[in-house]
């Protein structure tokens, strides 16, 4: 089944009416939904039944990699240049932990950024058709992909959920 390129964009003033609209559309069998929100909100993820973001796996891998790199870097360099300093052991963990911590955060942060860009397919040149700049300001948007034949049903559902505007995209 190919995804239709047509659909309807509904705009909402309130979060709870958007969530209600998502629930109704899903109940009626429309699962290909994309929400546009000026603020991130977990309730939207839950309403859309999105799986947990894969970005956190990138973060975990980055952090583990950073920690290992930190340990290897500090221990290996100390062992290669074994100079006893103020009577401490050559491999003394407390000061090394600082480097380990820094590299954990650094690698974790970089891989999170990379994972986020990769998974969000950024930079994105084309956005949702009928995108309204207010979806980045004070309105929520809901992009419902559906065939032209379903337009009336979807529009009715959106309007019954108090959508402020309903925009049909046919091309």
């Amino acid at each position: 089944m190919t995804r239709p390129s047509t659909g309807i964009v509904g705009s909402f003033r309130y979060l709870d009416t958007l969530l209600a609209a998502i629930a109704r559309l899903r109940q009626a069998g429309y699962r290909d939904l994309q929400a546009l929100s000026p603020v991130p909100h977990h309730a939207i993820d839950e309403a859309l039944h999105k799986p947990a973001s894969p970005v956190r796996v990138f973060t975990l891998i980055g952090c583990l990699l950073g920690a290992v790199t930190g340990f290897v870097l500090t221990i290996a360099t100390s062992l290669h240049y074994p100079l006893i300093t103020s009577g401490k052991p050559i491999v003394s963990i407390p000061p090394f932990l600082i480097i380990v911590f820094e590299l954990t955060i650094l690698f974790g942060g970089l891989l999170t950024l990379g994972g986020m860009l990769l998974n969000a397919r950024l930079p994105q040149v084309h956005t949702v058709p009928a995108y309204d700049p207010r979806f980045s300001e004070d309105r929520f948007g809901l992009w419902v992909r559906c065939a032209v034949t379903d337009f009336d049903a979807v529009a009715r559902l959106l309007e019954s959920a108090e959508a402020e505007g309903v925009h049909r995209v046919e091309k």
């Binding site: 309130y14 979060l15 709870d16 009416t17 977990h42 103020s86 009577g87 407390p94 000061p95 004070d138």
Partner: protein
Amino acid sequence: MPERWEERWTLPPPISLGLIQACAGLLFLGAAIFLIGLVQDPARAWQIYLVNFLFWGGLAQGAVVFAASYHVVQAKWGPTVRRLAEGMAAFLPVNFLLFIPLYFGLRLFFGQMHELNPDRGAWFDSRFIFVRGGLGLGSLTILSLLFVYYSLRAEVGVALERGFRPRRWLYAWLADDWQGEQSELHRSERGKDVLAAGMLLAYPIIYTFMAFDLIMALDPFWYSSLFGGHFFVSTFYLGLAGLTVVIALLSRMGVPGVTSRQLPDLGKLLFGFTLTYAAMVWSQYIVIWYGNLPEETQFVVLRVWERPWALLSWTVFIASIFLPFLIFLSRKAKESPGIMFSAGVLIMAGLWLERYILVVPSLWHGKGAPFGWLELGVTVGFLGAAGLSYGFFLRQFPLLPLAGTPLAAASNPSGGKPLEKNLSHV
């Protein structure tokens, strides 16, 4: 919405009278045990008294400082959280009164200090420590009570004007010389602005002094310049944990105005302070490790490597850093009142033990760690005093602000336009 807020003033209080009576019973039991302990073994009685004084007073002060920072950053996410935090100020005057008998304890602790370390001058004379401790604690208590006074006065006045409550003793006193709603609201806001900022400045300074005088100085040689920071951060952390326990409990009981929506936010704050607290401990440890000076390391070695204290220190680490860190990683855990309650209790227990492990090894030279009926009794007595004063506050004042007062205006979670059409969380 406003009508529902006003209804709160006629709702029955969330705390039953039986609970208050139980607290009073605990207080008397604890006081009796303390007096018996004072006769039998004064050193042991006074050291556990100090541990509990630092713990319960810090719990209340940390929560009030949280309310002040809530006001300073103009937060809007939980008006009931704020009220519950303010309420802990009810224990502060009691805590100040409990400081006065500590004079005899300080005489005991610092009596032979000059023989152990002759370099210590008049600064560590027990009378001087008592006087500056009392001045600091007193001024912080006054700041906190004034802050709560301004917060309550405007609302109580409005409630009396509209006839929600009879004009009786505490209410009449709070709304004394009422100048009319508009000017009072303005005055209340201005008063809170100044007092909250003042408290946020005074709290770290006074608590640094308390940490140096009442904990650090108990060891005749040890010093760590970051210890003050460690103590006021851990006290703030303690206040947040106590607040979380109260909120999780009230939301479980289904008290109106307290919702589990505020728990994830508190969980995030607690998570942040778990890390801040861990950073404070670590920053001192690494410096002491590096310097490797005997007078600094002996304090750590005694507590971290020698029995019986080592076991307790590692318990503190697990209970107030390691486990909370793991728990707060999960979003589901932060949404569950049951888990948040357990996490809060765990952190509080860990921080009680932290104060114990900071104070007792410096003073106790007997075998093993002293913990028996005396320690338990004094702790229970302080719990009773804290519960009694907090329960009194919760029975007197409603949890939700009255409509038309600054708190009510601030309780709209998104400031201007609400995020939801049908506000379900207030």
